[in-house]
Amino acid sequence: MNKRGMSRREFLRLSAAGVTGLLATSCVPQPTEVAPTEAVATVAPPPEKVTVDWWYTWSGPSVVEALQAVADRFNAKNDTIYVEGHSIPWEEVEAKLLTAIAGGEPPDIAACISYVEFWARGAMQPLDDLIAASEVIDKDDFLASAWQAGMWQGKTYGVPHVESYLRFGLVYNEDLVKDAGLDPDSPPQTWDEAFEWHEAITKFDAAGNLELLGFDPMDAMGGSGAGIVDPLFWPQSFGFKWWLEDGAEFAFDNPLFVEALATIKRFYDHVGVEKMEGFRSSYGTWCMSPTSGIPAGVQAMVVTGYWAAASLKQVAPGKKFRFTWPPNSSERKGIKFQCTGGHYGSIPIGGNLEEAFKFVEYTTTEEASQIIFEGSGFLGPRLSYLEKVDASEVPGLEFFFNSATEADEMNAGLACPLSAFVYDQWVEAVDAVNFGDKTPEQAAQDIQEACTKQLGEQFPELT
């Protein structure tokens, strides 16, 4: 007992009060890791409005600002709904979404995710009734293949959203091509021709270090960076589908896939697989950053989508780029193939369905589309808006606009419920072939077996 006057009982009472107070403060909800980015609105939503949490993985200051501007415009015009946008890093979005759904606190809109994975598992709400009743959305006003890819087993789970336009173009640096003695007006149409360009452009120093790269087959839409969830490009270039939706079966064990793997290996063998990997990890992929290969002027060619036109204008303003049809296998020489994008506004079960749908509708309007295009260069597949866009303002965009009508084949992403697993197996297959661990035939067989087994385990009802 304290001789100065505080009894043990008083001390215990005081301590209990202190511990209770600490417990109370620790029970206050902590900010989640889903912290808004720098462009989020700073004004708290009025209490009478329903808050719609909009999760997406598009990043970069200009994109996030443009998307926030869309949310702000919607909020200003709407008395009952308040949209809060959150940019989640692409690598984390599935884990966060899974946790949020499991915890009973899903966002109201999820975009830029492995869509079919969540649609096929019943985590998202079908939107057909709302679409049918909508006065804003007319599905005939969208590119058909883009609309189609928002469906799973006959139901629509996603409305094309924010960025969903065309995916394939061969982009090349005009000056690097000329410096190599090639004619920039005669771009390659087959992979043999593309390899000749690559060989002519690629430079090594006296010690064999890579200085200038012709073509990286796994850059951007070629299939190794963030945002790619399946081997979308290469199967289409060789004219086959790796996933047969009708029969719910995989089709990797075919000679065309073997040929595609062998073609990729050809580029790697010329450069050296370790040098190619080191080059890509040093400079990064895609064309969004001034330090990645194409904007930095250390790489000449890449297969990428329409967004590259606007982003290259911004990050590599002094360089001249040409946009053309991507190469095909030799048997398909001259076939023009294109693919619509695959980003959708999907509404998780447990989200505020009607309010969220109102915002998804709004993002397809001309007003929202204009804000997004001006701020980020992104385009959706809404035909009535696309007719009004002046493609001449952005060099290269005209190729994509023309390709929409000139393409012999207009494809879309395949609705496979195991897209993340397939992507992992695809990268493993490419690596194993490039590093000499497997032949293309072995790799094709292994990916077929692995994916088929996985499908049987996770979706026995489909098989």
């Binding site: 209990a16 499991a102 370790e274 080191g278």
Partner: protein
């Protein structure tokens, strides 16, 4: 080591019960947290390890199916091999480098405090910063090391893009970031009685003999502690590997925890990931127990001997 003995009361009377309940009350925040965020997830993951479970749909009982799949999974063997490689090489090298640096920093020289601070710095740096620094250091195109090599007309070293070098490159970073271990070893070194060195000197021991026969034996408790904590940490190696290599090139740096994470959050195979987690737990516990069992032969507790 002194042991604490708690005498049980002969009978649990009213006063004793009250005291006990008061103790539990004060410890209750920790107990509640432990039950909610450690015990419950442990039990839940054990339960789900016998299920096909993707979080979004109800779990489906498959018995030992996940464990059987695991041992038939070639990639499981690969990632386990990668992890054991890292443990077998990384932990001893990390210990040795930390001990050597601590021994150097234990000497009296100018700017000693400054050097102690900079060697400790990696321990307080965020992992993302460490990753970006080393990405630059290792870059074959413009990195610190390869820029020098290229300027000398030599071929660049593919530190992170070669399957045979990638793990070693990560081990180098691991050794570089042993700041916390250095501090622990420094404290242990300063605890070695001066009289032992004097006695060794009288017996004619040179500096290496003093290190081997005096310094290291007296620091073995600290070596055991740092070694065990390092071991447990390295078995769960994830963040730096994920940031720098994503498991590549060609799965050379795909470690156990990365594979577990992929299965749980990318492939939505939470049941399989739970099975992986339990197998990892058993591996770590087995290795830890083995080290504890053998520690009596090589760890010297000086006060116990007295």
């Amino acid at each position: 080591m002194a042991s604490l003995q708690i005498k049980k009361p002969r009978h649990f009377g009213k006063q004793s019960r009250r005291n006990f309940l008061r103790g539990v009350l004060f410890a209750s925040p920790w107990i509640v947290g432990f039950l909610l965020w450690t015990v419950y997830p442990l039990v839940a993951s054990f339960y789900y390890s016998f299920m096909r479970y993707d979080v979004l749909r109800p779990p489906r009982f498959v018995g030992m199916g996940n464990y059987i799949d695991l041992f038939n999974d070639n990639l499981f063997h690969k990632v386990t091999g990668n992890t054991f490689y890292f443990v077998a090489l990384g932990v001893p090298l990390g210990l040795a480098s930390a001990f050597a640096l601590a021994a150097l920093l234990n000497n009296d020289f100018k700017l000693r405090s400054f050097f102690r601070a900079i060697f400790f710095l990696p321990a307080v740096m965020p992992t993302i910063v460490i990753a970006e620094i080393w990405r630059w250091v290792y870059s074959p195109q413009y990195g610190l090391i390869n820029a020098v090599l290229r300027s000398w007309g030599l071929a660049a070293i593919p530190w992170l893009s070669s399957p045979s070098l990638a793990k070693l490159s990560l081990i180098i970073i691991h050794c570089w970031s042993q700041g916390a271990a250095i501090v622990i070893f420094l404290a242990a070194l300063q605890d070695v009685p001066r009289s032992l060195y004097d006695a060794a000197l009288v017996d004619g021991a040179n500096r290496w003999q003093q290190l081997w026969h005096v310094t290291i034996p007296m620091c073995t408790p600290a070596i055991l502690f740092v070694g065990l904590t390092n071991l447990i940490d390295v078995f769960q190696y994830f963040t730096l590997g994920w940031l720098l290599t994503q498991g590549g090139p060609n799965r050379a740096t795909e470690f156990y925890s990365m594979y577990l994470y992929r299965n749980a959050f990318k492939f939505l195979k939470m049941g399989y990931a739970s099975a992986l987690a339990w197998v990892l737990f058993l591996i770590v516990v087995s290795v830890t127990l083995l080290i504890f069992r053998t520690s009596a032969r090589w760890v010297y507790y000086g006060s116990a001997a007295e």
